[in-house]
Protein backbone atom coordinates (compact mmCIF):
# COMPACT_ATOMS: atom_id res chain seq x y z
CA UNK A 1 0.00 0.00 0.00
CA UNK A 2 2.78 2.35 1.02
CA UNK A 3 4.73 1.42 -2.13
CA UNK A 4 1.66 2.16 -4.32
CA UNK A 5 1.30 5.62 -2.80
CA UNK A 6 4.97 6.32 -3.45
CA UNK A 7 4.62 5.22 -7.10
CA UNK A 8 1.48 7.35 -7.45
CA UNK A 9 3.25 10.35 -6.01
CA UNK A 10 6.19 9.82 -8.34
CA UNK A 11 3.85 9.65 -11.36
CA UNK A 12 2.07 12.78 -10.19
CA UNK A 13 5.38 14.59 -9.78
CA UNK A 14 6.44 13.51 -13.29
CA UNK A 15 3.10 14.76 -14.68
CA UNK A 16 3.53 18.10 -12.92
CA UNK A 17 7.07 18.47 -14.30
CA UNK A 18 5.80 17.63 -17.78
CA UNK A 19 2.89 20.12 -17.63
CA UNK A 20 5.37 22.67 -16.30
CA UNK A 21 7.26 22.46 -19.59
CA UNK A 22 4.07 23.03 -21.56
CA UNK A 23 3.17 26.04 -19.46
CA UNK A 24 6.74 27.30 -19.86
CA UNK A 25 6.51 26.89 -23.64
CA UNK A 26 3.22 28.80 -23.87
CA UNK A 27 4.36 31.59 -21.52
CA UNK A 28 7.63 31.97 -23.43
CA UNK A 29 5.83 31.89 -26.76
CA UNK A 30 3.30 34.59 -25.85
CA UNK A 31 6.01 36.70 -24.16
CA UNK A 32 8.35 36.50 -27.16
CA UNK A 33 5.50 37.23 -29.57
CA UNK A 34 4.31 40.30 -27.64
CA UNK A 35 7.90 41.58 -27.26
CA UNK A 36 8.66 41.07 -30.96
CA UNK A 37 5.50 42.89 -32.06
CA UNK A 38 6.05 45.74 -29.64
CA UNK A 39 9.62 46.04 -31.00
CA UNK A 40 8.57 46.17 -34.67
CA UNK A 41 5.81 48.67 -33.83
CA UNK A 42 8.47 51.10 -32.59
CA UNK A 43 8.64 53.85 -35.22
CA UNK A 44 12.42 53.72 -35.94
CA UNK A 45 12.26 49.92 -36.44
CA UNK A 46 9.10 50.18 -38.50
CA UNK A 47 10.56 52.93 -40.72
CA UNK A 48 14.07 51.50 -41.16
CA UNK A 49 13.38 47.75 -41.24
CA UNK A 50 9.73 46.85 -41.78
CA UNK A 51 8.88 49.45 -44.44
CA UNK A 52 11.91 48.63 -46.68
CA UNK A 53 11.19 44.91 -46.18
CA UNK A 54 7.55 45.48 -47.20
CA UNK A 55 8.70 47.48 -50.23
CA UNK A 56 10.90 44.50 -51.17
CA UNK A 57 7.86 42.22 -50.98
CA UNK A 58 5.90 44.64 -53.16
CA UNK A 59 8.73 44.58 -55.73
CA UNK A 60 8.89 40.76 -55.74
CA UNK A 61 5.10 40.58 -56.10
CA UNK A 62 5.16 43.17 -58.89
CA UNK A 63 7.82 41.22 -60.79
CA UNK A 64 5.77 38.02 -60.42
CA UNK A 65 2.62 39.80 -61.63
CA UNK A 66 4.61 41.19 -64.58
CA UNK A 67 5.66 37.63 -65.45
CA UNK A 68 1.98 36.65 -65.35
CA UNK A 69 1.23 39.28 -67.96
CA UNK A 70 -0.21 41.95 -65.67
CA UNK A 71 0.66 45.51 -66.64
CA UNK A 72 1.75 46.69 -63.18
CA UNK A 73 3.77 49.59 -61.86
CA UNK A 74 5.35 49.80 -58.41
CA UNK A 75 5.71 52.83 -56.15
CA UNK A 76 7.17 51.96 -52.75
CA UNK A 77 4.70 49.53 -51.20
CA UNK A 78 2.01 50.19 -53.85
CA UNK A 79 1.38 47.90 -56.83
CA UNK A 80 -0.98 49.32 -59.43
CA UNK A 81 -2.36 48.45 -62.82
CA UNK A 82 -5.12 50.05 -64.91
CA UNK A 83 -7.55 47.53 -63.33
CA UNK A 84 -6.57 47.56 -59.66
CA UNK A 85 -4.10 48.83 -57.05
CA UNK A 86 -2.98 47.49 -53.68
CA UNK A 87 -0.87 48.96 -50.93
CA UNK A 88 1.11 46.27 -49.08
CA UNK A 89 1.00 47.20 -45.41
CA UNK A 90 1.77 45.63 -42.06
CA UNK A 91 -0.39 42.54 -41.81
CA UNK A 92 0.17 41.70 -45.49
CA UNK A 93 3.95 41.34 -45.47
CA UNK A 94 4.15 37.93 -43.80
CA UNK A 95 6.00 39.42 -40.82
CA UNK A 96 3.21 38.37 -38.42
CA UNK A 97 3.39 34.73 -39.50
CA UNK A 98 7.19 34.85 -39.40
CA UNK A 99 7.21 36.22 -35.85
CA UNK A 100 4.64 33.66 -34.69
CA UNK A 101 6.81 30.92 -36.19
CA UNK A 102 10.02 32.42 -34.79
CA UNK A 103 8.54 32.75 -31.27
CA UNK A 104 7.30 29.16 -31.35
CA UNK A 105 10.69 27.84 -32.54
CA UNK A 106 12.58 29.77 -29.87
CA UNK A 107 10.14 28.77 -27.11
CA UNK A 108 10.29 25.06 -27.94
CA UNK A 109 13.00 23.08 -26.17
CA UNK A 110 15.34 22.08 -29.00
CA UNK A 111 19.04 22.25 -29.87
CA UNK A 112 20.12 25.60 -31.35
CA UNK A 113 21.17 23.89 -34.59
CA UNK A 114 17.61 22.57 -35.08
CA UNK A 115 16.24 26.00 -34.25
CA UNK A 116 18.48 27.67 -36.86
CA UNK A 117 17.42 25.13 -39.47
CA UNK A 118 13.75 25.66 -38.54
CA UNK A 119 14.06 29.43 -38.76
CA UNK A 120 15.67 29.31 -42.21
CA UNK A 121 13.10 26.86 -43.50
CA UNK A 122 10.21 28.75 -41.90
CA UNK A 123 11.15 32.20 -43.18
CA UNK A 124 11.61 30.86 -46.73
CA UNK A 125 8.32 28.91 -46.84
CA UNK A 126 6.25 31.63 -45.14
CA UNK A 127 7.55 34.32 -47.51
CA UNK A 128 6.84 32.06 -50.48
CA UNK A 129 3.25 31.54 -49.30
CA UNK A 130 2.95 35.28 -48.66
CA UNK A 131 4.15 36.07 -52.18
CA UNK A 132 1.45 33.73 -53.46
CA UNK A 133 -1.06 35.58 -51.25
CA UNK A 134 -0.19 39.05 -52.56
CA UNK A 135 -0.26 37.89 -56.18
CA UNK A 136 -3.56 36.01 -55.69
CA UNK A 137 -5.11 38.98 -53.87
CA UNK A 138 -4.09 41.37 -56.64
CA UNK A 139 -5.63 39.09 -59.26
CA UNK A 140 -8.76 38.69 -57.10
CA UNK A 141 -9.08 42.47 -56.79
CA UNK A 142 -8.56 42.92 -60.53
CA UNK A 143 -10.92 40.21 -61.77
CA UNK A 144 -13.27 39.32 -58.85
CA UNK A 145 -13.45 42.55 -56.81
CA UNK A 146 -16.51 41.48 -54.80
CA UNK A 147 -14.43 38.62 -53.31
CA UNK A 148 -11.50 40.82 -52.34
CA UNK A 149 -12.51 41.70 -48.75
CA UNK A 150 -13.24 38.13 -47.69
CA UNK A 151 -10.24 36.81 -49.53
CA UNK A 152 -7.98 39.45 -47.95
CA UNK A 153 -8.99 39.21 -44.33
CA UNK A 154 -10.33 35.70 -43.95
CA UNK A 155 -9.01 33.28 -46.55
CA UNK A 156 -5.40 34.32 -47.04
CA UNK A 157 -4.69 35.33 -43.44
CA UNK A 158 -5.88 31.87 -42.42
CA UNK A 159 -3.79 30.20 -45.13
CA UNK A 160 -0.59 32.08 -44.23
CA UNK A 161 -0.94 31.46 -40.48
CA UNK A 162 -1.94 27.84 -41.05
CA UNK A 163 1.16 27.33 -43.20
CA UNK A 164 3.31 28.73 -40.37
CA UNK A 165 1.62 26.54 -37.75
CA UNK A 166 1.84 23.39 -39.88
CA UNK A 167 5.47 24.11 -40.65
CA UNK A 168 6.19 24.52 -36.94
CA UNK A 169 4.43 21.26 -36.10
CA UNK A 170 6.47 19.53 -38.83
CA UNK A 171 9.66 21.04 -37.42
CA UNK A 172 8.80 20.16 -33.80
CA UNK A 173 7.77 16.62 -34.75
CA UNK A 174 10.55 15.76 -37.20
CA UNK A 175 13.49 18.14 -36.85
CA UNK A 176 13.54 19.59 -33.34
CA UNK A 177 14.26 16.50 -31.28
CA UNK A 178 17.16 14.16 -31.23
CA UNK A 179 15.78 10.74 -32.30
CA UNK A 180 16.65 9.16 -28.94
CA UNK A 181 14.42 11.70 -27.17
CA UNK A 182 11.27 10.67 -29.02
CA UNK A 183 8.43 9.55 -26.72
CA UNK A 184 8.65 5.88 -25.94
CA UNK A 185 6.02 3.68 -27.60
CA UNK A 186 4.57 0.74 -25.73
Amino acid sequence: MAKKTTEGEATEARERRSWGREVRFLALFVGLLAAAFTFISWTPVNDRVIEPFTAGIARASGVTLDLLGQDVEMRGTVIESPRFAVNIRNGCNGVEAMLIFLSAVLAFPAPWRSRALGLLLGVAVIQLVNLLRVVALFLTGAYFPSWFDTSHTVVWQTVVILSGVVLWIFWADRLARPRSAAPAAS
Binding site: A34, V165, A181
Partner: protein, 202 residues
Protein backbone atom coordinates in the same frame (compact mmCIF):
# COMPACT_ATOMS: atom_id res chain seq x y z
CA UNK B 1 3.58 -0.18 -31.46
CA UNK B 2 2.02 3.04 -32.64
CA UNK B 3 -0.12 3.37 -29.56
CA UNK B 4 0.85 4.74 -26.20
CA UNK B 5 -1.00 5.31 -22.99
CA UNK B 6 -1.36 8.93 -21.93
CA UNK B 7 -2.09 10.30 -18.49
CA UNK B 8 -5.84 9.86 -19.03
CA UNK B 9 -7.77 6.59 -19.13
CA UNK B 10 -8.06 6.57 -22.95
CA UNK B 11 -5.47 4.99 -25.18
CA UNK B 12 -4.26 7.33 -27.91
CA UNK B 13 -2.19 6.80 -31.06
CA UNK B 14 1.21 8.38 -31.56
CA UNK B 15 1.37 11.65 -33.50
CA UNK B 16 1.76 11.14 -37.23
CA UNK B 17 2.49 14.25 -39.30
CA UNK B 18 1.22 12.60 -42.48
CA UNK B 19 -2.13 11.78 -40.86
CA UNK B 20 -2.25 15.28 -39.40
CA UNK B 21 -1.82 16.73 -42.91
CA UNK B 22 -4.63 14.53 -44.24
CA UNK B 23 -6.78 15.60 -41.29
CA UNK B 24 -6.13 19.29 -42.05
CA UNK B 25 -7.09 18.85 -45.68
CA UNK B 26 -10.25 16.98 -44.70
CA UNK B 27 -11.31 19.36 -41.92
CA UNK B 28 -10.58 22.78 -43.44
CA UNK B 29 -13.50 23.12 -45.85
CA UNK B 30 -16.24 21.67 -43.59
CA UNK B 31 -15.05 23.88 -40.71
CA UNK B 32 -15.02 26.96 -42.98
CA UNK B 33 -18.53 26.11 -44.20
CA UNK B 34 -19.87 25.78 -40.63
CA UNK B 35 -18.15 29.04 -39.66
CA UNK B 36 -19.67 30.84 -42.66
CA UNK B 37 -23.13 29.50 -41.83
CA UNK B 38 -22.92 30.52 -38.18
CA UNK B 39 -21.21 33.90 -38.75
CA UNK B 40 -24.40 36.06 -38.86
CA UNK B 41 -25.62 34.55 -35.56
CA UNK B 42 -22.21 34.83 -33.90
CA UNK B 43 -21.85 38.44 -35.14
CA UNK B 44 -25.14 39.34 -33.46
CA UNK B 45 -24.07 37.61 -30.25
CA UNK B 46 -20.66 39.35 -30.21
CA UNK B 47 -22.19 42.77 -30.85
CA UNK B 48 -24.79 42.32 -28.09
CA UNK B 49 -22.48 40.76 -25.51
CA UNK B 50 -19.63 43.11 -26.48
CA UNK B 51 -21.83 46.10 -25.74
CA UNK B 52 -22.42 44.75 -22.24
CA UNK B 53 -18.68 44.24 -21.73
CA UNK B 54 -17.99 47.85 -22.80
CA UNK B 55 -20.64 49.03 -20.33
CA UNK B 56 -18.59 47.48 -17.52
CA UNK B 57 -16.03 50.27 -18.08
CA UNK B 58 -18.39 53.23 -18.42
CA UNK B 59 -20.94 55.04 -16.36
CA UNK B 60 -23.51 55.99 -17.53
CA UNK B 61 -23.84 53.39 -20.32
CA UNK B 62 -23.50 55.56 -23.41
CA UNK B 63 -21.98 53.13 -25.91
CA UNK B 64 -24.18 51.24 -28.30
CA UNK B 65 -23.05 48.56 -30.74
CA UNK B 66 -25.49 48.17 -33.61
CA UNK B 67 -25.34 45.57 -36.38
CA UNK B 68 -25.20 47.22 -39.79
CA UNK B 69 -28.36 46.78 -41.85
CA UNK B 70 -26.43 47.15 -45.13
CA UNK B 71 -23.73 44.57 -44.50
CA UNK B 72 -24.19 41.85 -41.89
CA UNK B 73 -20.40 41.65 -41.41
CA UNK B 74 -20.23 45.17 -39.94
CA UNK B 75 -21.36 46.86 -36.73
CA UNK B 76 -21.57 50.53 -35.76
CA UNK B 77 -20.17 52.04 -32.58
CA UNK B 78 -22.54 54.73 -31.32
CA UNK B 79 -22.47 57.10 -28.32
CA UNK B 80 -25.71 58.46 -26.94
CA UNK B 81 -23.90 61.44 -25.31
CA UNK B 82 -22.66 62.79 -28.68
CA UNK B 83 -24.69 65.26 -30.75
CA UNK B 84 -27.13 63.43 -33.08
CA UNK B 85 -25.05 64.17 -36.19
CA UNK B 86 -21.95 62.55 -34.62
CA UNK B 87 -23.70 59.84 -32.65
CA UNK B 88 -22.59 57.10 -35.06
CA UNK B 89 -18.85 57.15 -34.25
CA UNK B 90 -17.47 54.55 -36.65
CA UNK B 91 -18.01 51.02 -37.90
CA UNK B 92 -15.91 47.87 -37.75
CA UNK B 93 -15.97 44.49 -39.44
CA UNK B 94 -17.14 42.02 -36.79
CA UNK B 95 -16.30 39.01 -38.97
CA UNK B 96 -12.63 40.03 -38.88
CA UNK B 97 -12.58 39.48 -35.12
CA UNK B 98 -13.47 35.80 -35.24
CA UNK B 99 -12.23 34.29 -38.52
CA UNK B 100 -9.52 32.62 -36.42
CA UNK B 101 -12.25 30.11 -35.47
CA UNK B 102 -11.66 28.43 -38.84
CA UNK B 103 -8.03 27.81 -37.93
CA UNK B 104 -8.98 26.73 -34.40
CA UNK B 105 -11.57 24.21 -35.59
CA UNK B 106 -9.34 22.85 -38.35
CA UNK B 107 -6.33 22.34 -36.06
CA UNK B 108 -8.38 20.72 -33.28
CA UNK B 109 -10.23 18.32 -35.56
CA UNK B 110 -7.14 17.32 -37.55
CA UNK B 111 -5.13 15.88 -34.65
CA UNK B 112 -4.56 12.23 -35.43
CA UNK B 113 -4.87 9.37 -32.98
CA UNK B 114 -7.25 11.11 -30.56
CA UNK B 115 -10.75 9.66 -30.07
CA UNK B 116 -13.44 11.85 -31.64
CA UNK B 117 -15.18 12.36 -28.33
CA UNK B 118 -11.97 13.75 -26.82
CA UNK B 119 -11.31 15.92 -29.90
CA UNK B 120 -14.78 17.48 -29.71
CA UNK B 121 -14.49 17.96 -25.96
CA UNK B 122 -11.16 19.78 -26.39
CA UNK B 123 -12.57 21.81 -29.30
CA UNK B 124 -15.46 22.83 -27.02
CA UNK B 125 -13.02 24.20 -24.44
CA UNK B 126 -11.08 25.95 -27.19
CA UNK B 127 -14.26 27.56 -28.54
CA UNK B 128 -15.31 28.70 -25.07
CA UNK B 129 -11.92 30.38 -24.59
CA UNK B 130 -12.27 31.91 -28.06
CA UNK B 131 -15.61 33.54 -27.14
CA UNK B 132 -13.95 35.31 -24.17
CA UNK B 133 -11.04 36.31 -26.41
CA UNK B 134 -13.41 37.78 -29.02
CA UNK B 135 -15.27 39.76 -26.38
CA UNK B 136 -11.92 41.16 -25.23
CA UNK B 137 -11.21 42.11 -28.85
CA UNK B 138 -14.53 43.99 -29.08
CA UNK B 139 -13.72 45.87 -25.86
CA UNK B 140 -10.23 46.85 -27.08
CA UNK B 141 -11.59 47.80 -30.54
CA UNK B 142 -14.12 50.20 -29.01
CA UNK B 143 -11.76 51.68 -26.41
CA UNK B 144 -9.01 52.05 -29.05
CA UNK B 145 -11.39 54.17 -31.15
CA UNK B 146 -12.37 56.30 -28.14
CA UNK B 147 -8.78 56.72 -26.91
CA UNK B 148 -6.96 57.39 -30.17
CA UNK B 149 -9.29 58.10 -33.09
CA UNK B 150 -11.52 60.96 -32.00
CA UNK B 151 -9.02 63.83 -32.04
CA UNK B 152 -9.54 66.45 -29.36
CA UNK B 153 -12.26 64.39 -27.67
CA UNK B 154 -9.78 61.49 -27.22
CA UNK B 155 -7.15 63.84 -25.75
CA UNK B 156 -9.68 65.37 -23.37
CA UNK B 157 -10.97 62.04 -22.06
CA UNK B 158 -7.92 59.73 -22.18
CA UNK B 159 -4.47 60.42 -20.73
CA UNK B 160 -1.18 59.41 -22.39
CA UNK B 161 -1.01 56.10 -20.50
CA UNK B 162 -4.60 55.15 -21.39
CA UNK B 163 -4.05 56.05 -25.05
CA UNK B 164 -0.93 53.88 -25.21
CA UNK B 165 -2.56 51.06 -23.24
CA UNK B 166 -5.62 50.81 -25.50
CA UNK B 167 -3.58 51.46 -28.65
CA UNK B 168 -0.85 48.90 -28.00
CA UNK B 169 -3.36 46.45 -26.52
CA UNK B 170 -5.57 46.63 -29.60
CA UNK B 171 -2.54 46.29 -31.87
CA UNK B 172 -1.23 43.21 -30.05
CA UNK B 173 -4.64 41.55 -29.63
CA UNK B 174 -5.87 42.31 -33.12
CA UNK B 175 -2.85 41.10 -35.08
CA UNK B 176 -0.40 38.67 -33.43
CA UNK B 177 -2.51 37.33 -30.60
CA UNK B 178 -5.66 36.91 -32.69
CA UNK B 179 -3.68 35.06 -35.33
CA UNK B 180 -1.71 33.02 -32.78
CA UNK B 181 -4.72 32.23 -30.56
CA UNK B 182 -5.69 28.97 -32.34
CA UNK B 183 -2.09 27.77 -32.15
CA UNK B 184 -1.85 28.66 -28.45
CA UNK B 185 -5.03 26.71 -27.71
CA UNK B 186 -3.89 23.79 -29.85
CA UNK B 187 -0.51 23.74 -28.12
CA UNK B 188 -2.18 23.86 -24.69
CA UNK B 189 -4.09 20.67 -25.49
CA UNK B 190 -1.78 18.80 -27.84
CA UNK B 191 1.81 19.92 -27.31
CA UNK B 192 2.35 16.80 -25.21
CA UNK B 193 1.73 14.72 -28.31
CA UNK B 194 4.80 16.30 -29.91
CA UNK B 195 6.81 15.03 -26.95
CA UNK B 196 7.56 18.34 -25.26
CA UNK B 197 7.36 16.65 -21.86
CA UNK B 198 10.16 14.19 -22.58
CA UNK B 199 12.70 16.51 -24.20
CA UNK B 200 15.58 17.73 -22.07
CA UNK B 201 15.65 21.53 -22.25
CA UNK B 202 18.54 22.88 -24.28
Amino acid sequence: MARRRTSGAETEGAFSFRRFGIGLAAAALPVAAVWLALTPTYNRFLVGAGENVVHLLESPDVTGLLPSLDDRNYAYITRSDFPPARRRVTSFRVTDLHFNLVLLGTLFLAVPGVPWRRRLENLGWGLLAAVFFHLLLVLFRVEFVYATQLGAWSHDHYGPFARNFWGLGKHLLDLPLKLAFPFVMWAAFYLRRLGVGVIPTS
